[in-house]
């Protein structure tokens, strides 16, 4: 207790110097916290994005043996239907994920968008937040109705109002102009960061895939939603077996990948990336610690006489050791706390700028502050021991 008061007054007596010493700690801690939190935030964004997509999303394609792609490598609508039938409830959606960039027209206004096709059970694939009207349904797909769900911005662009339900739109498909009825308008809820990552703000409208894909179309790949993500490995096995059997191709040529696998890969990549960068930032903590050791050595030398007086008056070796250790620990802990506050504010400001909810894990803060106090104690130990071992007679004579 007395030591804390003593250390505080020693730190106060040399305000500027103490602050400069802390600076190393402040920079170290704040960068570690900012970097690790940035990594955690990115992982959160990715996880969230995959949750929006659905972790059950998987796709499959067949690699050709001889650069020629024919019936046995490509998929037809009929084959897609048969796969879905064979898998029953284990797959909630099978489609081709057809998407084309094309122009929409309404009167004299037009707009370039992505037209994305959705197969039966469309909400399993895309479940946008509808603000007017309704989402596409199975009836639209089965009966090949020319129905369309617009993005809010497209609606405003084309009709000057968000509520474009009931309007008709002309779409250029395969060189024909086809007329669609707007049945719904949705709002894009992606974060600003995600939009930026997706490269600009191309708007997307949804139509039944059955309109984009004719009976005899051949498609490269099949997209599906596995109902139970935990069964992913087993389902992969079943689907590959089924396709190899029905299409008479080698199992090895069938390539199947899933969102949960991809996410796992990206997540572990981001994780190790932020760990590596965080570790580099942690080196600056060690540099900060050396700064503390340096200043403590100066302080011990400056206060040789004081140490001598204290020893002459009855201070034990331990008393002096603790006095200087507490001082070092207080400098680094104070630096650690200021650094934590700074790191958290940097993360918060960054999150505000990108419109994302940031993640600052408590354990990151605890580890960073504990580490800084340890650095302070570790690097304070040598100077403190030097002080404690001083001989009172010699120290008193020190000028």
């Amino acid at each position: 207790m007395e030591n804390i008061r003593l250390a505080a007054s020693a730190i106060r007596a040399n305000k500027m110097r103490s602050f400069l010493t802390m600076l190393g700690m402040i920079i170290g801690i704040s960068s570690v916290i900012a970097i690790v939190s940035l990594g955690d935030t990115m992982r959160g964004v990715v996880a969230n994005e995959y949750k929006n997509v659905g972790l059950g999303l998987a796709y499959v394609y067949i690699n050709s043996q001889n650069d020629y792609y024919g019936e046995s490598e490509l998929f037809t609508q009929d084959e897609a239907d048969r796969l879905k039938e064979a898998m029953g409830d284990s797959i909630s959606y099978v489609g081709f994920n057809q998407s084309t960039r094309t122009d929409l027209k309404a009167g004299r206004r037009s707009s370039t968008v992505y037209v994305t096709g959705l197969a039966e059970n469309p909400t399993a694939m895309k479940n946008p937040s509808i603000i007017y009207g309704r989402m596409l349904n199975d009836g639209d797909v089965q009966k090949k109705r020319h129905h369309m769900v617009l993005q809010k911005e497209t609606a405003v662009n084309m009709f000057g109002t968000e509520n474009a339900v009931g309007q008709t739109v002309e779409v250029k498909l395969n060189d024909n102009m086809e007329e669609f009825l707007v049945v719904g308008v949705y709002q894009n809820t992606d974060s600003a960061l995600m939009k930026a990552l997706q490269g600009g703000s191309m708007e997307t409208v949804y139509v039944p895939e059955s309109i984009l894909v004719s009976e005899d179309s051949m498609m490269w790949s099949l997209y599906m939603i596995i109902s139970d993500v935990s069964q992913m490995d087993m389902m992969k096995e079943r689907i590959i077996s089924f396709l190899s059997r029905t299409k008479h191709v080698e199992r090895e040529t069938i390539i199947m990948s899933s969102a949960s696998e991809e996410m796992g890969m990206i997540d572990s990549m981001l994780g190790s990336l932020s760990a590596v960068v965080g570790a580099i930032a942690a080196i600056s903590l060690v540099v900060g610690g050396i700064g503390i050791m340096n200043i403590m050595l100066v302080s011990v030398t400056e206060r040789t006489r004081e140490i001598g007086i204290r020893k002459a008056l009855g201070a034990k070796t331990r008393d002096i050791l603790i006095q200087f250790l507490v001082e070092a620990a207080m400098i680094s802990a104070a630096g650690g706390m200021i650094g934590t506050a700074l790191g958290i504010s940097v993360v918060a400001i960054g999150g505000l700028a990108f419109g994302i909810t940031t993640v600052v894990k408590l354990q990151v803060i605890v580890v960073a502050v504990a580490f800084s106090a340890m650095v302070g104690l570790g690097f304070g130990l040598y100077p403190a021991r030097k002080a404690a071992k001083a001989d009172p007679v010699i120290a008193l004579r020190y000028e």
């Binding site: 007395e2 007054s9 007596a13 006489r305 004081e306 001598g308 007086i309 204290r310 020893k311 002459a312 008056l313 009855g314 201070a315 034990k316 070796t317 331990r318 008393d319 009172p392 007679v393 008193l396």
Partner: protein, 232 residues
């Protein structure tokens, strides 16, 4: 009467590598409770060396030294700290107050290391400073005090844990005549109250305040006489 200091055949050699300085040569000395002793001698005769040993700050000697019945050469480093803290009140020529620390705090330091409670040592430090006539200046920093005032703070500090003996190595060496006499009056007063006091000095009239004068030369006691007390 109780023997506070008992020294037999005390020798001290400073080994500075190239040369060896034989600073004390076979000193024998006994000081009893309530004595008031002056140590005199030429510069370099070994007075400070003896005081450092008496003050338990220097354990590198040969011979016997018992303080209040405790054999000093057998004590550990930490035990010596505790003996310095409780049994010895040291007053230095250069005052040795801790800078940027108030008079009150300076006086409290020995009590902190003795583990005394905050309020208690606060009270006691205040009373001691009043006793040395600095009741008005307890919150002054050392650099805001005159030499004589600093030495009075140091005396108050030496008294903090009611030591068995007060050791003063040229306490008036940095003071003018008037301040010197003031300081000596404190020692005389303390001795009258029963304290055992040993003072190193170069000045005869300072020594004349005491009751026993020991003269040193080349690390040996050459004279040890009781003085008929004259008023200082």
């Amino acid at each position: 009467m109780k023997e506070i200091i008992k020294i037999e055949n005390l020798n001290k050699v400073y080994d500075t590598g190239a040369i060896q300085v034989h600073a004390l040569r076979g000193v024998n000395l006994s000081v009893y409770e309530g004595e008031y002793v002056a140590i005199m001698g030429q510069s370099g005769s070994g007075k400070s060396t003896l005081m450092n040993i008496l003050g338990c700050m220097d354990r590198q000697f040969s011979g016997l030294y018992e303080l209040d019945g405790i054999s000093i050469s057998e004590q550990s480093e930490n035990q010596l700290s505790s003996i310095r803290n409780k049994k010895i009140g040291f007053v230095f020529q250069a005052f040795q107050l801790i800078p940027r620390t108030s008079a009150l705090k300076n006086v409290e330091i020995p009590m902190i290391y003795a583990g005394m409670k905050r309020e208690e040592r606060h009270e006691r430090a205040k009373r001691l400073l009043e006793k040395v006539g600095l009741g008005e200046r307890i919150y002054h920093m050392p650099n805001e005090l005159s030499g004589g005032q600093k030495q009075r703070v140091a005396i108050a500090r030496a008294l903090a844990n009611s030591p068995a003996i007060i050791l003063a190595d040229e306490p008036t060496g940095n003071l003018d005549t008037r301040a010197s006499h003031e300081i000596m009056e404190f020692f005389t007063e303390l001795n009258r109250e029963g304290a055992t006091v040993i003072v190193v000095t170069h000045e005869e009239d300072i020594a004349a305040c005491t009751k026993r004068i020991i003269r040193f030369q080349d690390g040996q006691i050459i004279q040890d006489e009781r003085v008929v007390k004259e008023e200082c």
